[in-house]
């Protein structure tokens, strides 16, 4: 066993005093910190990405308006 590691652990993992607000928390007077579960955020991001991809792949291509076609274009298809 390394004495140096032993010493570091003894020095860095010392006991600490509990914050005063712990008693309030135990009594239910104050709530846990507000937060958003990481998994929920990741899921929301994934859903948004899928919706965005689906939207971009199914969006109909723009069809040229008749008014913008040069005269005689219809005859190329409809003889």
């Amino acid at each position: 066993m390394s004495e140096w590691v032993d010493l570091q652990l003894a020095h860095q993992l010392t006991a600490v005093k509990a914050p005063d607000e712990l008693w309030e928390r135990v009594q239910g007077r104050s709530r846990r910190r507000q937060g958003v579960p990481g998994l929920a955020l990741a899921t929301a991001a994934a859903v948004l990405a899928v919706v965005a991809m689906a939207y971009s792949s199914t969006r109909p291509r723009e069809i040229p308006k008749f008014g913008s076609l040069p005269p005689g274009s219809c005859l190329q298809c409809h003889l």
Binding site: M1, D6, L13, V16, P19, R25, V26, R32, R33
Partner: protein
């Protein structure tokens, strides 16, 4: 150190069972620092440690009737802490703090920088301990934060003293490797 409590815990436990508020408070005051310290050193996160400590005391007060006095009262509480720590670890998703951490940073940016510069070693050791598996980490925390003997740790964890020694040995070797660069 709740030595007096260990001797007279039965009366205190009885008072808690009767719902006496002062008894709950006395029990809380006697053990709050131990519970919070283990939670903090195990989780490495102050907010998470508060959640764990809160859970421990809520469970303690709601299940104090189950304490039969077969083990020392402190052993019983240590078991509650260990179970709560491991439960929080199993619920693998960590909360992403929105308000608390941001406010803390805004309140004391100078302190944050100062801490960053002066606590390199502490951070490295803490990070190395955090990388240990929960089983190894808990043995390290009970040994170094609480100063429990191998036998006491074994009683809390419900395993043999040899297992505790083996886990500590493995933890030491891993930490030695990970912190080798700091040991000039």
């Amino acid at each position: 150190m709740p030595v007096a409590l260990e001797g007279g815990h039965q009366k205190l436990v009885e008072s808690c069972r009767r719902g006496e508020r002062d008894a709950f408070r006395a029990l809380f005051e006697a053990y709050k620092d131990r519970v919070y310290s283990i939670a903090l050193r195990f989780s490495g996160d102050e907010a998470l440690a508060m959640d764990i400590a809160q859970d421990v005391f809520v469970k303690l007060f709601s299940s104090i009737g189950e304490f039969r006095g077969e083990a020392a009262f402190s052993t019983w509480i240590y078991r509650l802490v260990v179970n709560c720590c491991l439960d929080h670890k199993r619920r693998s998703w960590r909360l992403i703090p929105i308000a608390d951490d941001l406010l803390a940073m805004l309140r004391a940016p100078g302190d944050s920088l100062d801490r960053m510069l002066h606590s390199e070693m502490r951070e490295r050791v803490r990070a190395a301990v955090e990388k240990l598996s929960p089983e190894l980490r808990m043995v390290v925390v009970l040994r170094y934060t609480e100063g429990l003997s191998y036998d006491e740790i074994a009683e809390v964890l419900g395993c043999a003293s040899g297992t505790v020694a083996s886990r500590l040995n493995r933890a030491h070797k891993m930490l030695e490797r990970r912190l080798a660069c700091l040991n000039g």
